[in-house]
C-alpha cells in the first residue's frame, strides 16, 4: 500500500522560502501570484494492506518524525 504525506508550514508561520519563490516568479514576469507556500511530499511504500491501519501508522509517523507539529501541519493520503 502506498501512502503520501504532505507537510506544510502552518498558516501564520512565515515561510521565507515561499516568499523568495514568489519574488522570483514576479521577477520572471508572472503577475498575480498572491502567495507561495513551500512544503514537502513524502511517499511511503507500506507492507500493510489495511487502509485504516496504514493511515493510523502513518499518522503516528508524522507525529513522531515526519512533521514538526510546532510549526508544521501534515496531511496523509492512503492508496
Amino acid at each position: 500500500m502506498k501512502a503520501t504525506v504532505t507537510v506544510m508550514l502552518k498558516n501564520g508561520v512565515l515561510d521565507p522560502q515561499g516568499e523568495a519563490v514568489k519574488s522570483a516568479l514576479g521577477a520572471l514576469g508572472f503577475a498575480g501570484v498572491d502567495a507561495v507556500r513551500q512544503g514537502k511530499v513524502i511517499e511511503l511504500d507500506l507492507a500493510e494492506a489495511d487502509a485504516t491501519t496504514a493511515e493510523a501508522t502513518v499518522t503516528d509517523m508524522c507525529e513522531k518524525l515526519l512533521a514538526n507539529t510546532v510549526i508544521e501541519s501534515y496531511r496523509v493520503e492512503i492508496g
Binding site: 508561520v13 521565507p16 510546532v70
Partner: protein, 222 residues
C-alpha cells in the same frame, strides 16, 4: 567533573566542544550516536554543532531519534545539565527538551560572523558568570537559526527568565531576537552562537570561556 560530547554523523564541532570542556577542567568522554548508554557519574552532556544526518528531513530531526538521545533525554529529565549548541540546539528542540522550533534564516542566507549578544538571564550555571545585561561577542554559523514559537510560549519564556541570550542585531529573523533559551529548571541550554569558538585569543575573542568555567564552578559547588 565529567562531561560527555555526543557525535552524530555530520557533527563537526564535537572536537571543539570537547576542547572547551577540557579547558574548563572537565574530564571529557566522547559518545557515539549509536551508543545506548552514557558514561557513569556524568555531570553534563554537550550536543555539538554541525549537520547531523545531513540536515535531512529537518535539522536535528533524525539525530533527536538516535539511540543515544533517549539517554540524553532521560538524563535531562533526571535533572542533568545539557548544553546544545547550534545543531545541538536544533536537536534539543526536536527532542522536546526545549520548546519552539528553528527555521530557515529569514534572509535565506547562511550567516557566519561574530555577533553581539545580551545576557538576558543570569539565573543559570551557564550565564551566571556574565551577569544579567552583559554584552558579549560570540560567533554564529548557521542556515537555520530563526527561532520561532507561539506567542504564549514566547511570553512564558520571558516571564520565567528562560531567555538566556538575545542578539544585539538580529542575524536570522528569530522571534524576540532570541539566541538561546533555558529549560524550566535552567539546566538545559540551547543556543545558536558557538561559545566553544570563542575560548582562545587565537579565536579572535574569549567571551565563550566563562560559560564553560561558570558551569564547572556551579557543578563543583553543587
Amino acid at each position: 567533573m565529567r562531561a560527555a560530547v555526543v557525535t552524530f554523523p555530520g557533527s563537526n564541532c564535537d572536537r571543539d566542544l570537547a576542547v572547551a570542556f577540557e579547558a574548563a577542567g572537565f574530564d571529557v568522554h566522547r559518545v557515539w550516536h549509536k551508543d545506548t548508554a552514557l558514561p557513569d557519574n556524568l555531570d553534563v552532556i554537550g550536543l555539538p554543532g554541525g549537520f547531523s544526518f545531513g540536515d535531512y528531513l529537518r535539522c536535528g530531526a533524525i539525530a533527536a531519534n538516535a539511540p543515544i538521545c533517549r539517554e540524553v533525554k532521560a538524563f535531562a529529565e533526571r535533572g542533568g545539565h545539557v548544553l546544545g549548541i547550534c545543531n545541538g540546539f536544533q536537536v534539543l528542540l526536536e527532542t522536546g527538551l526545549l520548546p519552539g522550533a528553528l527555521m530557515r534564516n529569514g534572509s535565506l542566507h547562511f550567516v557566519c560572523k561574530p555577533v553581539g549578544l545580551r545576557v538576558e538571564s543570569a539565573a543559570s550555571p551557564y550565564t551566571a558568570p556574565y551577569g544579567k545585561g552583559a554584552e558579549i561577542t560570540i560567533p554564529v554559523a548557521h542556515h537555520d537559526g530563526n527561532f520561532q514559537a507561539d506567542a504564549d510560549t514566547l511570553s512564558m519564556l520571558d516571564a520565567e527568565g528562560r531567555i538566556a541570550f538575545r542578539y544585539a542585531e538580529n542575524p536570522n529573523g528569530s522571534a524576540g531576537d532570541i539566541a538561546g533559551i533555558l529549560s524550566e529548571n535552567h539546566r538545559v541550554l540551547g543556543m545558536m552562537p558557538h561559545p566553544e569558538r570563542a575560548i582562545d585569543e587565537m579565536h579572535g575573542g574569549t567571551d565563550g570561556a566563562a560559560l564553560f568555567a561558570g558551569l564547572a564552578e556551579a557543578l563543583v559547588s553543587a
